[in-house]
Symmetry: C2
Subunit: 308 residues, 2 copies
């Protein structure tokens, strides 16, 4: 099954009527991973039919309000709706104190476990491993400590070789084990090795989320070849100095990162309010990296692994 | 000119697709007074065309998230949009620490003065006096320190007596002074007293905001005869025990307060999520107090003083 990204917010700094602060939901068969949580993210989850009960992990890139101010409401609503499952939060140092102060001031006692892991935003390292994927930090260059996130599927399941299965008369209940790489031990004790019965599966899926950041070529080796790169594009190329000063990237800079890293597809977002129609940023990016798409709220982007 | 109330949020605790957390804007000729600020209030201000530049005072009833979590976003957006005018915030103790923690964690330095006044929620007292109105606290009975707010216009301007003006041949430039109660000093030094030229204006306007609270008859003397009483109605009468336990009121209790205080009109809101259609609460309230209206988002309610 593919992954998909639900775009919940595309604007920088402040909400507009049709563009909201940053939030994306990575939907996988294993659950939904929410990345950033600007004000009103819980409204957008409802609006776009993203099942909040499937979210067990939330990743905050940095502690600016447009990536953070929706978190207290979402966390509180979970408790009021009777959530029982633990919720795992990841973000820069300060996230725990922010939430602890809010719990104390509002007097709320969450009815579920909400565990905060504060990250070293200067290092690239693995912060989570589930059955099917691993999550790594991506050190970014913004005005305050900021980290992107890299989601990498583990080796994908092997595919059944139909002819071989028929030839060897493999029983049905063995199929799932074979997909997971097991050999087949027959009743007489003999072994049929896995690679006689299956072929390699598709390459594992990968998604990198990079917001907010200045142009940062040190990202390139970490995100090389990912299926989808989300990279912020707050400004157009004519505001390159402004971008640098404010810790952001231009359309061309995002596209350069995508090109140099050889990613499959680039998704741009986090548009400055000055762009009533951000497609100008798309056109600029496409001059460098053709396979670029513009984030739009409510949009769902499939991440499908392509054979190289 | 009348006052009017813009309804920005009507639901208790959590947002629904068509009902949001508490916020109301009292629009007066002198400016807009925002009362409570649930998550997404800045979105609703835009959606309903309430000019945020006219807001200089924000009143928070208590520090539960559904009345508070929109404040950091609104305050931050003001700064990003270049606000220069001071903003005056009022609310229970803890409000300052909540905001200071957020400023520190997010690293924002507001570009305008944002002054917090923490209130004694156990006392009824005057907290603000402007040219045309006074604002008082209304001690409420909730689970945490909570205060309502009472807005009272000062004596309204006097009305010009057209016949008298014609008779005395009062020059046009004197009219505004006369409305404000001044006598007319003629060129020959003689005085025509104000009450020979004007008649009393309409009674001053008043609005009381009471959310969240248990049934609390001690409110009655403070809100007697107000033009509009907003009183929370989280539950129907069959959930009276639940209301008491959770620090809320029923439809009938809100109506009893309105009736006993002899208010002109009752506005109910802060509906529990269980009421898909809260008109059941309206019907219950009307059995006690006929002149009740149901808060609906986007609605604008005129407060017009009526002669008794």
């Amino acid at each position: 099954m593919p992954w998909d990204i639900h775009i919940l917010g595309t604007n920088a700094a402040v909400p507009l009527p049709d563009r909201h602060p940053s939030a994306q939901a990575l939907n996988t068969p294993e659950g939904i991973f929410l990345i950033d949580c600007g004000e009103g993210t819980q409204d957008r989850l409802s609006q776009f039919g993203v099942k909040r009960s499937r979210i067990n992990h939330i990743f905050i890139s940095h502690l600016h309000g447009d990536h953070l101010f929706g978190l207290p409401g979402l966390i509180t609503s979970y408790s009021l709706f009777g959530r029982k499952d633990p919720l795992y939060l990841f973000g820069p140092p300060g996230l725990r104190r922010y939430l602890d102060t809010i719990y104390e001031i509002t007097g709320i006692h969450l009815r579920y476990q909400c565990q905060v892991t504060e990250l070293d935003t200067n290092k690239h390292y693995k912060i989570l491993e589930t059955e099917n994927l691993r999550v790594y930090t991506l050190p970014l260059d913004h005005r305050i400590p900021t980290t992107g996130y890299l989601f990498k599927e583990k080796v994908a399941k092997r595919k059944i070789d139909g002819d071989a299965i028929a030839h060897w008369q493999v029983p049905y209940h063995q199929i799932e084990k074979l997909k997971n790489g097991a050999d087949w031990e027959r009743e007489d004790g003999s072994i049929i090795e896995n690679d006689l019965l299956t072929v390699p599966g598709r390459p594992p899926l990968s998604f990198a989320y990079c917001s907010d950041t200045r142009y940062s070529p040190k990202l390139i080796p970490w995100i090389r070849g990912v299926d989808l790169l989300y990279h912020e594009t707050t400004f157009g190329e004519n505001l390159k100095d402004e971008a640098r000063k404010r810790g952001h990237s231009t359309s061309v800079e995002a596209a350069l990162i995508a090109k140099k890293a050889g990613v499959k597809e680039l998704l741009i977002g986090h548009f400055s309010t000055r762009y009533k129609d951000p497609s100008v940023l798309l056109h600029e990016a496409k001059t460098i990296f053709e396979n670029t798409i513009l984030a739009q709220e409510g949009q769902v982007i499939e991440i499908i692994s392509q054979q190289d």
